[in-house]
């Protein structure tokens, strides 16, 4: 999305938020971050926990990756972007894991393997890279990260609600479990297409 020139700052932030949460939603439009989306959406509490954890990591990561990109990499070390971003994200995820293990061990146990897996979540790496590509300034990249995370959490929670209802449905046996979840995710992104074209 080209650099928003001329619009007052507040309006760009709102536009960024609307675009990342609804129009090109990380999961629904950009099809990023599918493995936790499928893995953690079995129960609502796990989904909310996962959503918040990813939001926390994503916002921090976008901020940190902006600083790294702006001050450390500058213009000639662009090829180091992916490498450094991954290191930063891994560090933040480790910190989040310890933090969650300390504050609510139950959530830590429920999230299980998916908590460290945030590092490999392609949305978490995707957003900082998109930030860097679109040369957002610091606040814009924070909003972009927060918007992406909010979109991810919103869709994850909605999907968890649906999957809990799907458990009580009499789904034909070949479609039970993950396959009906995949179909539902497909229909969800079909519904999210309604927002396409919302933001120029």
């Amino acid at each position: 999305m080209r650099h928003c020139v001329g619009l007052p700052a507040l309006e760009t932030y709102i536009l960024i938020l609307i675009s990342t949460v609804f129009v090109n939603n990380i999961v629904m439009a950009k099809i990023l971050g599918l493995c936790p989306f499928m893995g953690v959406s079995r129960k609502l509490e796990a989904a909310i926990g996962m959503g918040l954890a990813t939001a926390f990591v994503l916002t921090l990561a976008s901020g940190a990756s902006y600083l790294v990109n702006e001050y450390l990499l500058g213009t000639e070390l662009i090829y180091l972007r992916t490498l450094s971003f991954i290191v930063v994200i891994a560090g933040i995820v480790q910190f989040t894991e310890m933090f969650i293990n300390k504050t609510s061990p139950v959530l830590y146990q429920v999230l299980g393997i998916y908590l460290p897996l945030i590092t490999t979540n392609c949305a978490v790496l995707g957003i900082p890279l998109l930030n860097a590509q679109a040369q957002h300034n610091f606040v814009e990249s924070l909003f972009f990260g927060a918007g992406g995370a909010l979109g991810f959490t919103l869709v994850l929670i909605l999907f968890a609600g649906i999957r809990e209802r799907l458990d009580t449905c009499d789904v034909p046996t070949p479609f039970k479990g993950t396959s009906i979840a995949m179909i539902t995710a497909g229909l969800m992104s079909l519904a999210f297409m309604g927002f396409s074209g919302l933001v120029k």
Binding site: V68, L72, K102, V110, L111
Partner: protein, 183 residues
Amino acid sequence: MLTAILVMVSIAVVIGLALGWSAIKLKVEGNPLAEKIDAILPQTQCGQCGFPGCKPYANAIAKGEADINQCPPGGEDGVKKLAELLGVEAKPLDETHGTPKPKSVAFIDEQICIGCTLCIQACPVDAIAGAAKQMHTIIAAECTGCELCLPPCPVDCITMEPIVEDLPHWKWKHPVINLKRVA
């Protein structure tokens, strides 16, 4: 080339320090999960899971050494509850640890019992009343049906009586609305 290495090293050092500091501050001890698992297990203390009682089995599951389908008295929904708690896939019961049997209570045939107290020492929940050379009898309310008292008995006077459903314990059955027969 040099600056690239410098940059990467500096990022790594900064993050390493931050993590080291937070690792100390956010130390976590104890494993509250074991109690949660123990709450699900049926507490028959029968040892069919290969552990001397339910608490050791719970600790083993918490540490990941034991599988969640080794408890026949817990039955299928016991495995399902454990799977739900640990967020893993529910596996069918492992037959090598024995098959789930209808809940039953031990019964001592008082004609044959010689009062040797071997079963009293073997009972994990002290559900057998009696003393040396005195008559032994089983407190039905507290017997968990773990069958640990059967092997030590020298005269084999203990039998397992399955609990028969009487009026106060009668349960409504799952109503079957079978669409397939409808046509």
